[in-house]
Amino acid sequence: MYEKNGDKYFIVDAHVHLWDARARNLRNIHGKQFIDCFYDYHRNLSPEEQVWDYETYCYYGPERLMRDLFEDGPADHAIFQATILKDFYINGFAQVDKSLELCRSNPDKLTYNHAYDPRDGEEGLEQLRRDAESMHLQGVKLYTAEWHGDSRGYKLDDPWSRRYLEECINLGIKNVHVHKGPTIRPLDRDAFDVADIDKVATDYLDLNFIVEHVGLPRLEDFCWIATQESNVYGGLAVAIPFIHTRPRYFAQIIGELMYWIGEDKILFASDYALWTPQWLVERFVDFQIPEDMSEYAPLTVNQKKKILGLNAAALYPNIKVPDELQIPTDAADPGAEVAAGAKDAVNA
């Protein structure tokens, strides 16, 4: 819980990791390139006093995670979004067993979303059924740019991917978190193309598609599909740290999101340990659209409450919000009134 000026905020960090990128876990140069890329993101966008040393960044462990999120940090609940990268890391980038252990010891604080890869075919489908049961999955994290043998990415509307999404519906997994990394195949197309999300969101209305990083670097394409689909959400991971380095650009991002997809469909996320939630939440609660940007309405306390936790809690029924912190949100309600921009777009 976070409190400021008498306002109390229920905080759900909708995107956290427990990773191991130590040298002994690197399968090849790409594992090194991947964590170095993450470290550059961290160093580039964090306030100076929040920058970790490289060794800690490669492996920080479960205790540090609990401290950063819940003790020193403001989170009431956090959701693991597993990124496996088995072609880059010997035992995987995400520490699945340790994450699950933490979830079992702290069921009121942590939710685990596992990753599957539709290129694993029938065998992977079987595994998904087993995982759904043993891990009590309510959500999955898909990284479409993951390398997999000779393949360097897939599309959500590929036939096998559709089979997995249909299986998610059968298994009661409702929340599909999608990270559209640079998908290399087909190389002729824009690697960050979001058209595949558009297609599956239309075809699988029983699923919620949470697009991580609000589609960056294709914010405009993401906003456009979110206006067309009632079951598309945006996660703020990677977008929100701009609140420190480029507050005016962040104002534009959040302004666009509020206009196109609305306050009920935006989810706070730190992407821990890329960034820690404490400073992000502090800054976001204090944040306001600059006065000269009259094209955007000011953010209200209630809108911030929804974005910081109540929307995610609406998508995950296991996350219990104390009555005194709850306000109504239309997240998870497919029949809800859409955002202004979405309405205009549909009528145009």
Binding site: D40, R185, W224
Partner: protein, 256 residues
């Protein structure tokens, strides 16, 4: 590279020509020259030819854009008189080996990427040329709106003639040329992705979406610059915030 960079040397005309040629190469996603983005790490000119090293903000920048910029750079340098042998190399990318081998062999896109490539990168290029035009169009229209020289109801009727001269208009005209739109002063400014006029009812929404395109492209520019500077902060010769290391070892001057 064993040559020591000497920044105080007066660049030869070939060095200047190489810098100018590289300045014509644009990052399609950001609509900015690779020289302005500091993606050029070094330029070496010697009696054999020109060697250029490029580098990008992350190892995982999309390989199709990485290839486009590197091959455009190679093409631009090869068009210079007396260039000699042109070598362009992309450093520190997950596909560096593949891309550099393809460039050295002049294998083209399909030859470089093999089965991962399908037909070509023309459609990809066209998509981003179109986005660049959309962003330039929005800047011009929003500029007039901000100065109250036009009302929101009138934006669908604006013609190129109505735009005041200046960098925004020049940028729009160049991008109109890139997408194949008319430069006639009577042409409408606000057009759809297909280049067709927008109905008065849809003009507001078209401008609104164009603003998202502009914000997205500008934001990606901030992001790429920041990441490049962070990534190469420890490179004493070229820290990602400055121009390339220039080494001029050419002894002969061209007759031209």
């Amino acid at each position: 590279m064993t040559a020591v960079a000497d920044r105080r040397a007066t660049p030869s005309t070939m060095v200047e020509a190489a810098i100018a040629a590289l300045g014509t190469v644009v990052d399609p996603e950001l609509d900015e020259p690779i020289t302005d983005l500091n993606f050029v790490r070094s330029i070496l000119v010697d009696d054999e030819g020109i060697t250029v090293h490029l580098r990008l903000p992350t190892s995982f920048c999309s390989p199709n854009f990485a290839y486009l910029m590197a091959s455009d750079a190679q093409d631009a340098l090869q068009q210079l008189d007396d260039a000699g042998l042109v070598r362009v190399m992309l450093d520190d990318h997950h596909d560096s080996d593949k891309i550099n081998a393809g460039l050295a062999a002049e294998a083209g896109y399909l030859g470089t990427f093999g089965v991962e490539a399908d037909e070509g990168l023309d459609d990809l290029r066209a998509t981003f040329v179109r986005k660049a035009h959309t962003a330039a169009m929005e800047r011009c229209v929003s500029d007039l709106l901000a100065r109250h020289e036009v009302t929101p109801d009138e934006i669908g009727h604006l013609t190129l003639r109505d735009l005041p001269p200046g960098p925004k208009k020049s940028a729009l005209l160049r991008r109109r040329a890139n997408v194949g739109l008319s430069l006639c002063p009577n042409s409408l400014v606000l057009v759809g992705d297909d280049g067709q006029p927008v109905s008065p009812d849809d003009a507001g929404m078209r401008l609104r979406f164009a603003r998202s395109v502009r914000i997205s492209m500008e934001g990606n520019g901030h992001f790429c610059r920041g990441l490049l500077a962070t990534r190469y902060a420890d490179d004493a010769d070229c820290d990602g915030r400055s121009g390339p290391v220039i080494t001029d070892l050419r002894t002969h001057r061209s007759a031209s």
